[in-house]
Amino acid sequence: MLRAIYDWVDERLDITPLWRDVADHEVPEHVNPAHHFSAFIYCFGGLTFFVVVIQILSGMFLAMYYVPDIINAHASVKFLQNEVAMGAIVRGMHHWGASVAIVMLFLHTLRVFFTGSYKHPREFNWVVGMLIFFVMLGLGFTGYLLPWDNKAYFATKVGVQIAASVPYLGPYIATFLQGGDIVGAQTIARFFALHVFFFPAALLALLGAHFILIRRQGISGPL
């Protein structure tokens, strides 16, 4: 049945080469944990991507209930967490997943560093990876404000003040981040926009570049 549907579509659109190109590639022995268990360190990049997928999915579902507004944000989070079925689980996935994503990303970075995989010709992919790192930090920073509780508010105040300490540009950066003079109504609106539109779009573009580069250049050799 599934086979028949696939064949019907494939006959007309010729989709087999598309996924073959993505899926069929050599996995060298030195990165395959089935050969050397210590090769599990090569899994952290894929795990980071897996957690990012979970973040995107759970975030989409959370957006069904959440409103970015100073009056209702906290009430809507409280409602979706306590009164909607599985709310604690879905919000928990997003909450803990955010930390897990940063940890996995950091472990992946360490692996790349200690295996020297950032060296020529892969130095550009290291740069793309660093951009991904900053976008992920941006996602963490903007997402932290959205529940609009005390922790969120004061963490953002501190973060904005750190940004404000940049020489010369600091005050402008702070005003841009806050969308005004204080952390308030306009801040939560723009942090929401950054968190669900701007940063995810940048992240997907950078991930695309990251994956295309690793396919073009191949996985770096064994130590």
Binding site: S76, F79, A85, M86, V90
Partner: protein
């Protein structure tokens, strides 16, 4: 296809179902979370004292306003509802004023051309005194009724009757 399951096929099925199980474990909470409003039991069921002595309910429909506390997610508020209350063959009925055609608001004898009927101004829908839609006018069904109760000589109005 041979009856014997090849090793490759066995592995494909095993890996496929494991992946499916893990994926379902991930997706189930999110989907359940999203469809929760459709699975939640409706609220309401409280009877509200509309402060109307039973002796004042007569054959002539009179409009009664009452407040219902509504909860809309994280937002709750008091909604003012109207019911047309009357005695029909000795039995008290409370009609919803929402027209069954397209949801406008009907009133008793709102149009002097049509005495002794509920009239909807939007498309001239009409109902008899007990809320039955008059054939030849737009409404397809009779007006909804609220559940009613009597206590200490006063009228209580409850949720809409399920028909």
């Amino acid at each position: 296809m041979s009856k014997k399951l090849s090793r490759r096929q066995f592995l494909t099925y095993t890996l496929g179902s494991t992946a499916g199980f893990l994926g379902a474990g991930m997706l189930f909470p999110m989907v359940r979370f999203a469809v929760d409003p459709a699975l939640k039991k409706g609220q309401g069921g409280n009877f509200i004292d509309v402060n109307l002595p039973l002796s004042e309910v007569t054959d002539k429909p009179r409009s009664v306003q009452f407040k219902v506390h509504k909860k809309d997610g994280w937002y709750s508020f008091d909604e003012v509802l109207t019911a047309w209350v009357l005695r029909d063959k000795g039995k008290i009925i409370a009609l919803s004023p929402i027209c069954k055609h397209l949801g406008c608001t009907v009133s008793w004898e709102a149009n002097p051309q049509y005495p002794n009927t509920f009239f909807c101004p939007c498309h001239f829908g009409r109902y008899t005194k007990d809320g039955t839609n008059i054939p030849g006018t737009p409404p397809p069904k009779p007006l909804d009724r609220y559940e009613t109760k009597e206590a200490n000589g006063k009228l209580l109005i409850g949720p809409l009757m399920q028909t």
